[in-house]
Structure formats: structure tokens, C-alpha cells
């Protein structure tokens, strides 16, 4: 007997599309209607870790163990550690984040999430300049100029354009795509650039310069702008300023092309300043294209619980935040961390080689439904149910709108929450509390 779940949420990217129709049969998902390729691939499932595994050292093979054994060993590793790191979280629900922060407090650990190699620089820019933004529906209903800067939704957020930003029709935008000017700024001509009205090619590492030139022109100082900036002609820059200024409602979406290229957070700082200044002429908003479906949620939960969005060090018993010192890669690069738990994120695949090299030397606990490069550096691997598919709970869309995932099928593994609760309990026992 097939069961149909309508208005289901997608646990893949920061779009958190909530219009999926999921068909299940015998506790298996057989169809994920409306989902994009990326979302469907995750929902339909692949390559799960079957059972908990442990190994003596990183050179030996894994042996399957019971959950109790794996949890005991994980707790022992963390309790023994003088500088434990709890990293990942972006593919887990907010309810998991709360348990993670509690464990970090208990351990005096550092807790950090995947934003550190993604939109972490955006958070630093928000500290400097704030963030003039809105919900995605505001853009869908009003925007007539949309800029994608260093972001490529066609490949990374496939339904973003249809649901929110490019083709979407709304109250003041009944013409949809026809009523919108789409501009792509990028170092290479992406798939998104191919469908844009205008593509502006920026020389690698020159985004900051181009943003500065746009601000100079906007504020009436075109005279100081040279004939070309960052590979973009002054003429093209002036035209872009005119287009942006004369919008009725403009939106800028930026991605890792801006956060992880030369100048990093200063790029975002400059982009936010541009948007703030554009608001003297017309309405503008700016939004980071968040990757994992609940990377935004970790920042929210961590902020209301600790006051800081990420990279929180509990070594002193109270939250301490100093990115550059307390982010995951800072600790790994300094070889300061002596044990790590990687959960719902893949440090093995995405961290710089030096960080991964250090992970390969220290005891690592992995909590994840999937086998991935982090597994290769792990000592203890604890497979869990898939949040958002087998576990219900909360996630925050890239615009900060929170949504509740329903359970699509029954889990075949324990949940992250259960595992974290047991580890925390065991840590307390070991420490004699």
C-alpha cells in the first residue's frame, strides 16, 4: 500500500522546498515528486553505513560493533580529550543542534559548523555591517532586478529560480521572468550566466575592487573610477549601477564565489555596504545562498543559546568566540585539537589538506548516516537515521524562515538526538558527575 505525503520538505539545500509529494511503500520511498535531482537523490537514499564500526588505529580495518560499544568508546574519547572539537551539524535538525551545544558545554569543547568553510565570512561581515534582507517571498512578489554574485543556482540550488527569484510570479511581479532583469557576476560563465540578461565577468580575485567601483559610481564619484576595474569596463559598471538604481525592488544573492575568494569577508562587507547605499535610491535586499538545508538553523540555535553564531569555545565554561582562533580549521591547523566528533558534515571532504592530516592523527568519532571521506579518518563510526527523512524536526531556510520536517518513513537506525544524549550521559558518568 502506497502512502502519499504532500507538502513535504526537502532536506538537501538552503531552499528547503516545501512542496514535495513523497510516495512511500513498505517503509521505502519510491518517489519524490517536484524534488530537483539533488534533493531526490538524497531523499531516495544511497550508500548508508549499516552498523556502528570501530578500529584500533587508522590503518586497521573497521569492525562492526554494538551501539553501546561505539557510544562508550566515543564518550571515552571525548571525555579524555583536553581540547575536543564538535564539528558539522549542517545536515541535522535544530533539535540535534541543541543536544550538541549541551554536550559541548558538558565537555568544555569547541563547537563549530560547516559555515566555517562556506558562509562563515558572511557572518563576520554581518558583525561589521548588519544584513538588509527579507524573506524569499518578498523577492518573489516584488523583485524586478535580481543579481547572482559568485553563486550558481542552476547547479547548486536548482529550484531557487523557479520558486523564489527568477521565474517565480507574484503579486507585483505577475510577468515572472519577463518582468525581471537577471544579472550574473562571476569569474566564469556559469549555467546561470547562460540564462541571465547580463553576464559580468570579473577577473579572479577582483570582486572587492568591482564592488568598490560600483559604490564609487553610485555615490557620484565615477570620475575616480579607471577605464576598467577587475576586468570589467567602466561603461559596463556604469550601466550596472543604472540598472540597479532604477529597479523597483532589487535583490542580490551571493555565494561562495564571494565568500571564499580573495578578500573573503571584506567582499561581503563591501557588498552589504553597496546594498545599504542602494536603499537611498530604491528598495534592495541581499541574501547568502546557504548550502546545506539547515546550516542556517545551526547559526540560529547557536546564537540564541550561546549568543554567538558559530565557532564557540566552552573551555572556560562560558561561551567564547573568536573566529581565527576558535573555528574548526584554526584548531586543526594549529594541531591543538586532540579529539574530534564530526557529525552531519564532512570535514574529510571539505577541509584543507593540513586540517585533514591532523584529523588523521587524532581520535575521530563520526556520527552520520553516510559513508564519506570523514569515515576514512574516523576511529569510531556511529550511523544514524536521516534527519528530515526519517526524523521530524526544525530547519531554517536560507532566509531564516523556520519550517518543520515531517517524518517520511520510519528510521532503521537511532537518531542523532538519541546518540548525543547517550554520549552526554556517558561522559558525565566517566567524569563522575
Amino acid at each position: 500500500m502506497a502512502t502519499v505525503i504532500t507538502d513535504a520538505l526537502c532536506p538537501f539545500c538552503g531552499c528547503v522546498c516545501d512542496d514535495l509529494t513523497i510516495v512511500t511503500e513498505n517503509n521505502k520511498i519510491i518517489e519524490a515528486k517536484h524534488a530537483c535531482k539533488l534533493g531526490a537523490a538524497k531523499i531516495m537514499g544511497h550508500h548508508r553505513i549499516k552498523a556502528p564500526m570501530m578500529r584500533k588505529d587508522k590503518h586497521s580495518d573497521f569492525k562492526e560493533v554494538s551501539y553501546d560499544e561505539a557510544i562508550n568508546e566515543a564518550a571515552a574519547i571525548l571525555a579524555r580529550s583536553k581540547r575536543p572539537l564538535l564539528y558539522g551539524w549542517a545536515s541535522a535538525l535544530c533539535e540535534v543542534h541543541k543536544k550538541g551545544i549541551l554536550l559541548a558545554e558538558e565537555l568544555g569543547a569547541i563547537i563549530d559548523n560547516t559555515a566555517t568553510v562556506c558562509h562563515g565570512p558572511s557572518t563576520l561581515a554581518v558583525h561589521e555591517k548588519g544584513l538588509p534582507s527579507s524573506t524569499l517571498g518578498q523577492i518573489k512578489n516584488r523583485a524586478d532586478v535580481v543579481v547572482f554574485w559568485g553563486s550558481n543556482p542552476v547547479q547548486a540550488h536548482p529550484r531557487h529560480m523557479g520558486r523564489y527569484s527568477v521565474f517565480a510570479k507574484g503579486f507585483f511581479s505577475e510577468k515572472g521572468r519577463k518582468g525581471r532583469k537577471i544579472i550574473v557576476v562571476d569569474v566564469r560563465k556559469t549555467e546561470t550566466a547562460n540564462i541571465a540578461d547580463e553576464y559580468i565577468q570579473v577577473a579572479q580575485g577582483s570582486d572587492y575592487l568591482v564592488l568598490s567601483a560600483l559604490r564609487a559610481i553610485l555615490s557620484g564619484h565615477a570620475d575616480v573610477v579607471p577605464a576598467a576595474v577587475g576586468g570589467v569596463s567602466k561603461e559596463q559598471l556604469s550601466k550596472l549601477v543604472d540598472t540597479m538604481k532604477t529597479a523597483r525592488f532589487g535583490a542580490v544573492f551571493f555565494g561562495m564565489g564571494l565568500t571564499q575568494s580573495k578578500s573573503r569577508y571584506k567582499n561581503i562587507d563591501n557588498a552589504i555596504s553597496l546594498i545599504t547605499e542602494l536603499n537611498s535610491f530604491t528598495k534592495y535586499v541581499i541574501m547568502p545562498m546557504r548550502g546545506h538545508y539547515n546550516v542556517t538553523g545551526f547559526g540560529q540555535v547557536c546564537s540564541w543559546e550561546t549568543g554567538f553564531a558559530t565557532a564557540v569555545d566552552f573551555a572556560r565554561g562560558a561561551p567564547y568566540y573568536n573566529p581565527g582562533e576558535t573555528a574548526a580549521n584554526d584548531l586543526l591547523m594549529r594541531k591543538e585539537t586532540d579529539a574530534a566528533m564530526i557529525i552531519a558534515g564532512d570535514a574529510g571532504a571539505h577541509f584543507p589538506a593540513d586540517s585533514v592530516r591532523h584529523l588523521a592523527k587524532i581520535p575521530v568519532v563520526q556520527v552520520d548516516p553516510y559513508w564519506n571521506p570523514t569515515t576514512e579518518v574516523a576511529n569510531v563510526v556511529i550511523p544514524v537515521a536521516i534527519c528530515g527523512v526519517e526524523v521530524e524536526g526544525t530547519a531554517y531556510r536560507m532566509d531564516g524562515v523556520s519550517l518543520r520536517f515531517r517524518k517520511m518513513i520510519e528510521p532503521t537506525h537511532p537518531t542523532d538526538i538519541e546518540i548525543l544524549e547517550k554520549i552526554t550521559e556517558r561522559v558525565k558518568e566517566i567524569r563522575g558527575e
Binding site: V126, T135, T306, G307, Y396
Partner: protein, 570 residues
């Protein structure tokens, strides 16, 4: 579980008790007539006893509070306290973390606090935070002033649909009442514009702020909601706005209250009793507002007192926040919510030698001291807009001591002499007045007098004991003692449990969340829902099925019944 509080100097204005030595009996979380001889006893030893503090307007949870935290790590770094066996870590001053919110209110003797604004679409976030604020009871007011359905129904003069939408919106957001911020302005800010007065027409919707306010007041009374419409006036933040405020108050005359309370609560007067025409001739018109309150019966207010030092302004009034950011060259967060409202967050520092700030400091105090009836002016700082709530004891001391005010005035910009009345006001409030402004009055304004804001039989056993002996202190002179006693309660009792002793947290029970379940005839809801379904199909970016706050986010609910169909109160 029984408890007896003996020998307290009790101030319980709602029950006419003003400093009498009265015993208070507690059983199962409620105040009762008497308890058995096996009850535990707290000997108050002649110290000041009041019901637990009630705050009707504070920004404690939700999207904009968290935006404040994210953009202000410099604020989070102040006020940090490590975890203990009982408490999670405290962080922040103007935007504390969820734990510090609950602990600090409890440490001041407060037990009930209402978040002043949530958009329905972001209400789930508000409740996620409320769920983690320890100890205190809480609730949240829901924004309705720029919602497209509100404006459609106001334009169509369809009060049945408007009432049905309000009832449904309260359910969807698990909200407690109607908040209306810069009505119409939130929609206009969608295109970077604003309304400039009560009679401006909102483009595309063809309604005026005045029509929105009056219609929402009528819907509020049709539904018999416990609280009234809670209004943040148009033109906030602009010199000369006191005229808009008075005109908004005048609108209340068009509506009869359905209950023994105001029909309109005009909030944070410090930000909307501004005279003058620009920053040069800026002056206080708090006296005009007080004069209006002294001659009317159906409007209440709160102070929104300014506190010198760091603050974080946060409001659904999007355009005023952009203006602030430009004026102050400050960082600016904006957070428009599709089809519903706007919002913005901007840090500020209030300085004694800035004329505008010195004048604003006087405004809240003038309002409270020139208004005769303390039930009409609640004590707030519009946390964290005027300043953080931890400064309530400072405000209490200022209200109780002219000497303290005069000492303060000496440190302020001279404009405070020329452009405010505060130097010449000698009135000093007493403990009874303070108990009204922080307890009985707030509970009355919220419509919660059945269980909150007093110490009569049947009330919740929320009680604070302060280390002051009212008959042995002259607050006028010993204002420092008053301030320090109110900062750190000798005891705070929440639902019959001692949660604070000698200013330290002793227990962290989970408080309840108040929300209003207002009933309207089913067919009325069904007709209204046709429009709502259309709006979700075409305009919202999420599905209707994923919009409403689920039960999982309100795990300790206290449902207050209301509605056009008379219902039994549970």
C-alpha cells in the same frame, strides 16, 4: 506542596493592600486561603512582598532578537557568566541569550513577560526561543498591521472576515494578541517607502493607517480578546510625532471595550511623544500625552524608558530603522516578511551629553510622573530599544526619588532643562504605584488579572520578596538601596516554587506560554480561508500546510479562550 510567607510588608494594589503585614498561603502553585501546619515557611521579616513582576512589552525572543545577537558579538561578550550545576551560561547585555533572559528576569522578581512582536510566518522561531527561556511564563503578540488579508478586509469593510483572520492568525502563530506596528508602513517599506500620517493611503491596498487601527480595535473587541490592540504609532522616530500619537489615541473613542480594560495600548511613549520639527528644535511633549491620559479612560501606555549606554533597537518598523542606520552610520539589519510586515535592527548608544538622548531620557519619566493614574503607564524600557530590561530597578529608583533625578539631571546635556519638564517635577511614586506599574497594571492591560499581577486567592503563586523594609526606608533619599534591592530579589517564587534566593537562581522550572484561542463561527473561518488559500497558492513562498506553528513548539501551553461565540473559560 504548601508554602507560607509570613511577616511580609505586602503591596498588592489590586486587592487594596498597601504595606500591611499579611501572610500569604500557597498550595499547588496557587495562592489559597490557608495552608496546613506542615507547610514550609518563609519569614519575610517585614520585608517588601509583591506579586511576581509582569512585563507587557519586551523583545525577548524571535527572529529580530536573534538577528541582534548575530550582528552584535560585541554585545554578547558583555554579561558572560559560566554554567553552574543549575544554570546554563549567561551571555549578552542588550541581546542576552535565552537562558540569561529567564534568569535575569527571575532575579529581578519578574515571573511573566510578553514578547512584543512576531510575524505569523516567523512565529515558529519565536516559540523555539520562548521554549528555551527558563522559569518565566511568557507569550507573544502577533503582528497584524500590514498583513495583506488585514488590509483587504479593512478596505472591504468586512469585519467578520477580519475577525476570522485575526482568530486564525493567533492560532497560526500561537499568539496572545494583536500588535500593530506603523500600520500600513510595513507594506510600503516593501518598496522602500513609508506612510507619513494616519490618513495616508497605502498604495495597491487603498486603506489608511487610521482605518487599519480602528478596524483591528473593532475585531479585537468582537473577539473579546484578553488584551487590547497594542499599537506602535505611525511616524515613530520623527520630531513632531506626538500629534500622530494623540490622533491615534483619539481613534480609541470609536470603539467600546468588551472587557474592563483599555481598547488601545499605545506602547513605548519615549519614542512617540516628540515635539519640534527637526533635531534642532526637538523637545518633549510627554506632558501632552499625560494630559490626554488624565482626561480619557480607554487608552493605556508604557514608558519605553531610555537608559544611558548601549541599546539595540529592533522593531517591525522597517523604515524607521533604515533612517536610524543612516543617521547613526550604524550597522543595519532589515527583515521584511512577505505579505505581513517589515522589521529592522540597529545598535545605538545613548549618551548623556547628546541633547536628543537627554531629552528622551526625560520623556518616559515625565509620562509616568505627570499621569495621575499609574494603571495607565506601565514601566518598560521597550527592551532592548530604550535599554535592557535589567535596568528596571534604575527606573524604579528614578520614579521614587526626585533627589536621584536631580542628581542625574546635573550630568546631562543642558537641553534637558529647556526642552523637558522633568527638572520641575517633584512627584515621587510609592511602592503601591510601583506595584501597579510593574504588576497589577501590566496584568490588567494584558487581561490576565485572574491569575497574574496580584496576590488574591486563586492567583498564580508568583511572588517576589525584596530586601527592603518599607517602614524603615525613605526611598527619596535611600534610592541606591531601592535600586539594589530590586536588582536582586531576596526571593522569587514562581508557581509556588522558590526559583531565586538572595539574588541567586535556585531552580529552573519551565514556564508556560500563553496564547489565545479565539472561536469564530466555522462558516466564517471557511469563507476567510478561501482568500488565505489563494494567497498561499499565488504569493507566499511556503505552503499553507507548513505555515502554522505546530504543538511541538508550545510544550507548556496556557490557552486563554476568547471568541465571538461565548465560551466557557477553562
Amino acid at each position: 506542596m504548601e508554602l507560607l510567607i509570613k511577616n511580609g510588608a505586602v503591596y498588592d494594589p489590586f486587592n487594596g493592600i498597601a504595606g500591611d503585614k499579611t501572610d500569604i498561603s500557597i498550595k499547588d502553585g496557587k495562592i489559597v486561603d490557608k495552608v496546613s501546619s506542615s507547610a514550609s515557611v518563609i519569614d519575610a521579616g517585614g520585608r517588601l512582598v509583591m506579586s511576581g513582576g509582569v512585563d507587557a512589552h519586551s523583545h525577548i525572543a524571535g527572529a529580530k532578537v536573534n538577528v541582534g545577537r548575530i550582528m552584535r558579538p560585541e554585545d554578547t561578550r558583555s554579561g558572560i557568566k559560566p554554567r553552574t550545576k543549575i544554570t546554563r551560561p549567561y551571555t549578552g547585555y542588550t541581546v542576552p541569550n535565552v537562558y540569561a533572559m529567564g534568569y535575569r528576569y527571575a532575579q529581578m522578581g519578574y515571573t511573566t513577560v510578553f514578547e512584543a512582536a512576531q510575524a505569523i510566518m516567523k512565529a515558529r522561531h519565536t516559540h523555539e526561543e520562548l521554549e528555551e527561556i527558563p522559569i518565566i511564563d511568557k507569550g507573544a503578540l502577533t503582528l497584524f498591521g500590514s498583513n495583506w488579508p488585514t488590509m483587504d478586509y479593512v478596505r472591504e469593510k468586512n469585519m467578520d472576515k477580519l475577525a476570522a483572520y485575526v482568530a486564525w492568525g493567533l492560532l497560526a502563530s500561537r499568539g496572545f494578541g494583536i500588535k500593530c506596528v506603523n500600520p500600513g508602513g510595513g507594506e510600503m517599506w516593501g518598496f522602500g517607502k513609508n506612510v507619513t500620517g494616519l490618513d495616508d493611503v497605502v498604495p495597491n491596498f487603498d486603506v489608511t493607517p487610521a482605518q487599519i487601527i480602528v478596524s483591528l480595535m473593532k475585531a479585537n473587541e468582537m473577539l473579546g480578546l484578553p488584551h487590547s490592540v497594542h499599537l506602535h504609532c505611525n511616524n515613530l522616530g520623527k520630531p513632531g510625532n506626538y500629534k500622530t500619537t494623540l490622533a491615534s489615541m483619539e481613534l480609541a473613542k470609536q470603539v467600546k471595550p468588551s472587557k474592563d480594560r483599555q481598547v488601545l495600548h499605545v506602547t513605548h511613549i519615549t519614542f512617540n511623544c516628540w515635539g519640534g520639527t527637526n533635531w534642532g528644535d526637538f523637545e518633549s511633549k510627554a506632558d501632552e500625552i499625560a494630559n490626554y491620559l488624565n482626561n480619557s479612560e480607554n487608552v493605556t501606555t508604557d514608558m519605553g524608558q531610555l537608559i544611558f549606554g548601549s541599546a539595540t533597537t529592533m522593531t517591525a518598523d522597517g523604515p524607521v530603522q533604515y533612517a536610524n542606520a543612516k543617521l547613526l552610520h550604524a550597522k543595519w539589519a532589515n527583515g521584511d516578511v512577505e505579505l505581513e510586515d517589515a522589521s529592522g535592527v540597529v545598535p545605538i548608544f545613548y549618551a548623556r551629553q547628546v541633547s536628543i538622548h537627554a531629552i528622551m531620557w526625560a520623556m518616559g519619566l515625565e509620562l509616568a510622573l505627570l499621569t495621575k493614574d499609574p494603571y495607565k503607564v506601565l514601566l518598560t524600557t521597550d527592551h532592548p530599544n530604550g535599554g535592557p530590561f535589567v535596568n528596571y530597578p534604575e527606573v524604579i529608583a528614578l520614579l521614587m526619588s526626585n533627589k536621584k533625578r536631580q542628581e542625574e539631571i546635573k550630568t546631562l546635556h543642558e537641553a534637558v532643562h529647556k526642552r523637558t519638564k522633568i527638572p520641575g517635577i517633584e512627584r515621587e511614586l510609592d511602592f503601591n504605584d510601583i506595584a501597579i506599574m510593574t504588576r497589577a497594571g501590566s496584568a490588567k492591560v494584558l487581561g490576565l488579572l485572574d491569575t497574574k499581577g496580584h496576590l488574591g486567592v486563586g492567583a498564580d503563586a508568583d511572588i517576589s520578596i525584596y530586601d527592603i523594609k518599607p517602614d524603615q526606608i525613605d526611598p527619596s533619599v535611600e534610592h541606591a538601596k531601592i535600586k539594589s534591592a530590586f536588582q536582586s530579589a531576596a526571593y522569587t517564587i514562581k508557581g509556588g516554587e522558590v526559583v531565586v534566593k538572595d539574588g541567586q537562581i535556585t531552580a529552573t522550572p519551565m514556564g508556560r506560554t500563553f496564547w489565545v484561542d479565539a472561536t469564530v463561527p466555522e462558516e466564517q473561518t471557511e469563507i476567510m480561508m478561501k482568500d488565505i488559500r489563494m494567497k498561499f497558492k499565488n504569493y507566499y513562498s511556503i505552503s499553507l500546510a507548513n505555515y502554522m506553528v505546530q504543538d511541538a513548539y508550545v510544550t507548556h501551553p496556557k490557552v486563554v479562550k476568547a471568541g465571538v461565540i461565548p465560551v466557557e473559560v477553562s
